[in-house]
Symmetry: C2
């Protein structure tokens, strides 16, 4: 029995590839056949998530539900979505899905609990901050989240856009400055809740990267954990 | 109308990711939505291709056919397989598939024709050489292929195994030496018909990389071309 993991990707395409690499990196494997079975739906023709949340543009939900249905039809046993902002529609997606969807904030919470962290900051897009699921999910695990105030959030968004437009070093410097400000608020770690952020911090070799929790990486770890648990259940 | 490309991957998982990155790199895109819609079947629980061809182990064909059926069921309009050796079973796969499968050797032939190349060498696994599709396919485009003699092929295979086992620099040096030998036979270019080869040559910064035709990259270019032609047909 082979439990296939479905990835609802394409938001964006490169973030999807980055996520799959993170799964491969974290899988204990000696040969091809030891790696996790994946079906990846990377169809980027989905309305922009942040544009919908911030400017009331067209909702991406119907297209995402179509993607979920395709994955379920292809026989996956669980679904993950390597895009923070998309989790705003998590409830609608789980209602539409015949299989469970692992939540990216639960994956981060698990990592923070494992490390014994009690206070954490958030660096993410305006859409993810507005979606509000991070503080809610983390509170359930007894973790207090500190959100950036308005000027700092504007600066984080500016840094993310710089990276998205290809100015990775410039964006990295801005984001490293923002992260320093977040850490000065007294949090132990900062959730890097947008693919562009760890990428840019690594590019400028910022030592702050060690104080960050890479949300995509946490979700990849959750996939490896899920598959390990599934294997054990099959053997038992 | 959105024509989705199906990727029968997982052979191996990292080669699949590398292939998707090559598609993204070659796609003229300004935003997420401009990228090609892909469904990627990366289920590596498939019997080893080379082991089957060289030592009569279990055939990977039934599992590959299941993957094709899943992709067709998910609604793809065309399929590609980013694994050279797997093309040994191309005829069986196309017979089982309700949609066309682009052949990796046709993609290489197209690139060679575009560049006006008439003679080419091959560096690939024993399985791919034994499969024999490269010289046949290229001959149809008027391109003459020179195959490595036995001792050279053994050395190529040795270099590939070094890379697979993580000794990328050592493998790269061996493969660069093999490529020099191939070029001395008088061919204009050499098809790098195994994912490990371009990767290792790039790692050691070998100038010979410019004399190689990266088969995976050629297949990625074929995907971009296929999708462009499909869009034009839809508009017409």
């Amino acid at each position: 029995m082979n439990a296939v993991i479905g990835i609802l990707g394409g938001m964006g395409p490169l973030a999807t590839v980055d996520f799959v690499e993170k799964i491969i990196d974290q899988t204990p494997a000696e040969r091809d056949q030891d790696h996790l079975p994946l079906i990846i739906h990377s169809v980027p023709q989905i309305p922009d998530r942040t544009a919908c949340l911030v400017s009331q543009h067209e909702s991406p939900l119907p297209d995402m539900v179509r993607g979920i249905n395709t994955l379920v039809g292809a026989g996956v046993s669980v679904i993950v979505i390597p895009c923070n902002t998309a989790h705003y529609w998590y409830d609608g997606l789980t209602q539409a899905s015949a299989v469970p969807i692992l939540h990216i904030a639960d994956a981060c919470a698990q990592k923070l609990v494992d490390e014994g962290i009690k206070t954490v900051g958030l660096m993410a897009t305006d859409g993810t901050v507005k979606a509000g699921f991070y503080p809610k999910k983390l509170a359930r695990s007894g973790i207090q989240m500190v959100l950036p105030e308005e000027a700092l959030q504007r600066n984080i968004m500016h840094g993310i856009y710089q990276v998205k437009s290809g100015k990775i070093e410039a964006g990295g410097e801005i984001l490293a400055g923002c992260m320093e400000q977040m850490l000065r608020l007294g949090v132990e770690k900062v959730i890097l809740g947008c693919t562009e952020i760890p990428l840019a911090l690594e590019r400028i070799e910022s030592p702050l990267v060690d104080r960050g929790i890479d949300a995509t990486q946490a979700l990849a770890a959750a996939c490896v954990r899920w598959h390990g648990a599934f294997r054990q259940r099959s053997v038992a």
